[in-house]
Symmetry: C2
C-alpha cells in the first residue's frame, strides 16, 4: 500500500466520505488512489475558493468534516479566503494539500511556496507528513483535530513522495475530541447575573443557534427577563416556523451600540464579545457599555447545549411555547429590500437551506424570515466576500432532498462564480438569486460615511455597471439555466418555479 492509498483508507475509516477537489500534478497518486478505492465522493471545483467554501458549507450542515484536495502552496492560497470564513464559522475541514516531494522542495522549483506558512493563519492544526508510513497516522490525527468542538481546520500537507512511496499504514480512527469541560462556577455566575433583574443579554453563537438550544435560551429569558441575541455573523442558525426567534447584533456600529446601550450583564454562550466589523474614526470598537459586566457561560470550544441546560436547570427555567407567526404573502410592487425579503420568506420550501451573501441588499431578510417555513440560515462569517455560491454548493452536497436558496450580491458573487459549474455538474438543487444592483453598494455607503461624494475615480472603483454583468449568460456559460426578474411579480413566479424543479437555477434580480 502506498501513502496515498493509506490516506484514502484512513479517511474512509474515520467517516470522511466526501472530497472537494482541485488536484494538480503532485496529487496524481492521490487521484489514482481515490480511483482504485471505492467509497469517496469526489466533487471537482474549477477554482480552489469553491473547494474550501464548499467544504465549509458541507460541514456547517453535517457537523462533520469533508476532505479537500488542493495543489501545493498556490492552490492552497487560492482557497484561503473561504478557509478564513470557515474558521470564523467554526467549521470542520480536513484540508489536504499535496506538495513538492520532500527531497525536491529544497531545490525551489517554480511552484514551490511556503505552504505551511499559508496554512498556519487559517488552520487550527497543521502537519506535513514526512514519510509514506506516517500518512495514515497523520490523517487520523487530522480528522480528529477537525472535529474539535467550536471548529477545526486541520491542514495536512502531503509531499508527493509520501504518497507514491510504499509502506503506507491505515490509521486507526481516533475518537472525536471531548469538548472542554463546563465550569460550574461559570453557570452560577451567569445565573446570578440573570437573576439580578438588571438588563442582561444572552449572546449566542455556534451551535447555540440550533433549535434545541434556542428553546433553552428562550426559557431562560422568559424566567429572568433577559434578552437574547445572536452574533452579527453566524455559520448556521435554525429559524422559521416552530422555532424560537432570535435577532442579531446589528452590523452598523451605531445601531449595535444603541441596541446594547442599557446592558448591565452580557452572558456569552458559544460566542465572543461583540466587536465592530471595522473601526471608524470617532466610533467605539466595542459595542456594549464600559460598565457592562461580561460572563462567559461557555466558550466556543465548550458544548453550548450542555451549558444552556445547566443554566436553565440552575434557574428552574421551564420551557415556553414558540409564538405563532404567520407566513407572509409574496410581495408585489416595487423591488425593494423589504419586498424581496418578504417574498423569500413566503416562498421558502420547508426545511430549506438559505445561504446568505446578500451583503447590503439582503439585510431585511432577518426581520421577515421568522414567518417562513423552518430553515437553516448560513451567513458570511469572516467578511471575505465570495463564499455564497461555494457554501451553497457544499450544503447541497451535504443535504440531498433539501432545497438551497442562495441570496447572492452581484459584486461578491463574481469572486467565486465558478461554483455554478459544480452545481450544474452535480445537478444540485440550488436556487441562486443574484441581487444585481451593479455596484459595490456597501462601499458606496461607507464612502459617504467618509464624508465625500464619489467622483469619477472613486466610482471607477465601486461601480460594476460599465459594462453590465449579464448573469444569465455567465450561468449559461457554466451549464446553469437562468432568467431575469425586473419586478416582484416576476421574482415570485421564477422563485416558485425554480424551487420546484430539480437541479440549479439562477435568477438575476435587477434591484
Amino acid at each position: 500500500m502506498n501513502g496515498a492509498e493509506s490516506l484514502v483508507h484512513t479517511l474512509l475509516a474515520a467517516g470522511v466520505d466526501t472530497c472537494f477537489a482541485n488536484p494538480g500534478t503532485s496529487e496524481m497518486h492521490f487521484v489514482a488512489a481515490l480511483d482504485r478505492i471505492p467509497g469517496m465522493r469526489c466533487v471537482l471545483a474549477l477554482q480552489e475558493n469553491t473547494v474550501t467554501g464548499a467544504a465549509d458549507g458541507y460541514a456547517r450542515m453535517t457537523d462533520r468534516p469533508a476532505a479537500t484536495l488542493l495543489h501545493c502552496g498556490p492552490g492552497l492560497a487560492n482557497g484561503l479566503a473561504n478557509l478564513h470564513n470557515g474558521r470564523r464559522a467554526g467549521t470542520h475541514i480536513v484540508n489536504c494539500v499535496g506538495d513538492q516531494a520532500t527531497y525536491h522542495r529544497p531545490l525551489d522549483a517554480p511552484l514551490t511556496a511556503d505552504t505551511e506558512g499559508f496554512a498556519r493563519a487559517v488552520s487550527s492544526w497543521v502537519r506535513s507528513s514526512a514519510h509514506a508510513g506516517d500518512v495514515g497516522r497523520d490523517a487520523a490525527a487530522a480528522v480528529q483535530a477537525a472535529q474539535t468542538e467550536g471548529g477545526g481546520i486541520a491542514t495536512l500537507i502531503l509531499p508527493s513522495d509520501t504518497c507514491w512511496d510504499e509502506g503506507g499504514v491505515v490509521g486507526a480512527p481516533l475518537p472525536r475530541p471531548t469538548p472542554a469541560a463546563l465550569d460550574p462556577h461559570a453557570v452560577q455566575q451567569a445565573a446570578q447575573a440573570l437573576r439580578s433583574g438588571a438588563p442582561s443579554l444572552l449572546l449566542l453563537g455556534g451551535r447555540a443557534l440550533r433549535e434545541e438550544a434556542l428553546a433553552l435560551a428562550a426559557a431562560i429569558c422568559a424566567a429572568t427577563g433577559a434578552r437574547m441575541l445572536a452574533q452579527t455573523s453566524n455559520g448556521r442558525m435554525q429559524r422559521g416556523a416552530g422555532r424560537h426567534r432570535i435577532e442579531r447584533v446589528p452590523y452598523a456600529v451605531d445601531a449595535a451600540v444603541a441596541e446594547l446601550s442599557d446592558l448591565s450583564h452580557l452572558v456569552l454562550v458559544g460566542s465572543v464579545r461583540p466587536v465592530g466589523f471595522f473601526a471608524y474614526p470617532g466610533k467605539p470598537s466595542r459595542m456594549e457599555p464600559d460598565t457592562c459586566a461580561t460572563h462567559v457561560l461557555s466558550r466556543p470550544q465548550q458544548d453550548p447545549l450542555a451549558a444552556l441546560r445547566a443554566l436553565a436547570e440552575s434557574l428552574g427555567a421551564a420551557p415556553v411555547p414558540v409564538p405563532a407567526t404567520a407566513r407572509p404573502a409574496p410581495a408585489t410592487g416595487a423591488v425593494t429590500s423589504e419586498a424581496v425579503a418578504q417574498t423569500l420568506a413566503a416562498l421558502l420550501p420547508d426545511d430549506a437551506i438559505v445561504v446568505d451573501e446578500s451583503v447590503s441588499f439582503g439585510r431585511a431578510f432577518s426581520a421577515h424570515s421568522q414567518g417562513a417555513a423552518r430553515h437553516d440560515w448560513l451567513q458570511l462569517t469572516g467578511g471575505a466576500i465570495g463564499d455564497g455560491l461555494p457554501l451553497a454548493t457544499g450544503a447541497a452536497i451535504a443535504c440531498p432532498g433539501r432545497r438551497v436558496v442562495t441570496l447572492q450580491a452581484d459584486g461578491s458573487g463574481m469572486y467565486t462564480l465558478q461554483a455554478l459549474w459544480t452545481q450544474a455538474r452535480e445537478r444540485l438543487d440550488v436556487t441562486t438569486v443574484i441581487l444585481a444592483n451593479r455596484k459595490y453598494q456597501i462601499l458606496l455607503g461607507e464612502y459617504r460615511n467618509v464624508g465625500a461624494n464619489p467622483g469619477r475615480t472613486a466610482m471607477d472603483m465601486m461601480d460594476l455597471g460599465n459594462p453590465d454583468l449579464d448573469w444569465i449568460s455567465l450561468a449559461k456559460g457554466m451549464g446553469v439555466e437562468g432568467a431575469r426578474a425586473a419586478s416582484m411579480e416576476q421574482l415570485n413566479d421564477l422563485l416558485s418555479q425554480a424551487n420546484a424543479r430539480p437541479g440549479p437555477f439562477l435568477i438575476e434580480l435587477a434591484c
Copy 2:
C-alpha cells in the same frame, strides 16, 4: 493632509501612476484620496488575483511597478497565487493592502487575519505602517524596494487609522536600487569555461532574454561554440523577426535531461540551475549531469546586460547577424497544436504581446514563433494557473497601441475569468484564444505517467466536459464579444478580424 493623501502623493512623485484595485471598507479613505488627487489611473478588477496578475503584466512590460489596492488579509490571500507567479517572473509591484485600524486589530474582528503572514511568502519587502506620519516615508521605501533588479514585490500594509489620521507627510522619492555589482572573477571563470571547447551552455533568464542581451549571447555562442537556452518559464522574452532565436529548457524531465546530457559547463546569466517542475519517482530533480560545472556569470539581482557585455568583451566576441526566417502561412486542415502555433505565428501583428498560459496545447508555439513578427512573449512563471487573462489585462494597460494575444487553456482560464470584465471596461486591445479541450489535459498526461488509466472517479476530477464550458456566453456575460472556431480556417478568419479591431475579443477554439 491625511495618511491616505500622503500615500497617493508619494506614489505619484515616485512615478507610480497606475493602480490596480479591489478596495473594501477599510480602504475608503484611500479611494477618497485617489479621487481628490489627480494623476493615478485606477483600474478595478472583480477578484484580487486579477489585480495582482495585472500588476505583474504591467511591470513585465514597463520594468516599473504599478500599485495595487487590496482589502485586508483575505483580499491579499485571493491575490497570492499571481503574486507567487510574479515573484518567479522577477516582477515589480507596490502591493498596498489596507487593514484593520491599529487599535482595532487586537480585538480580532471577523475580517482580521494574518495579513503580514500571508504577505511574507510572496514579498521581498513587507512593512506595516504604524502612524499616518509614516505612510509617505514607508511608501517611498516600498517603491524603491519594488524596483530591485531581478524583482521586487513590496507589500505595504496600511491600517485604516494610518490613512484617516491627519499628519501625513509626502515621502521623497528614493533612487532606484543599484544592482548588485558584477564579479570580475565570475566573468573570467565563465570566459575560461566557454573557451575550453567542452560542451557549454549559456542559460539565460530575466532581462537576459531581451533583444540586446540575446544579440550579445548569440555573439558569445558564435565565438565559442557554446549553445544558449532560456529557462523553461520566463517572465518576458523578446522574439520574432530581427531577433536572435533562443529555445527553452524543455518542461518534461526526460527531454530536459536529454537536452543537457552532454554538458561540461553551465553558465548562468540571470537564471538559476534548472530543476524539474515536479519530482517523479525514479527521475532526477536536476537536469544537468552530475559532472557538469556550474558558473554563475550573473545572479538575477545583477545586471545581465552588463554581464553579457563584459563576457563578450573578454572573449572578443563580435556581433553576428540574425538569421533570416520566413513568416509561415496560416495553417489549414485539422486543429492541432502545430497548426494553431503556425497560424498564430503567421497572423501575429508587429510588436504584439503574446501572453501564454496555453499549458499543454500551446507547447508547439515556441518552435513556430521565431518566424512571427517581433513580439514579447509572457509566460506562466510560477506554475500557479490563472495568470493568463490577468497578465494580458495588465500588459494591455501598460502598452496602449500594441495588440495583446492571449493563448489561454480553458481549465486555467476558469481560475481568473473575471479579468475579461476589466478588459471590456477598459476597452483593451486583447485577443483571447481559449484552447478548449475541455479537460485538464496536462493532468491526464501526468496521470498516465503514474501508470494507470483513469476510471470514473479520476475522470470526475480531470474532465471539464460535464457540462461543457461555453466561453462565448461567459465572455458575453462580462461584456466581451466572442466567437467559436472549430476549424483552422475559422480560426484564421477570426484571429485576423479580432487583431484588427479595437477592444477585446475572445475566440473559443475547439481542440
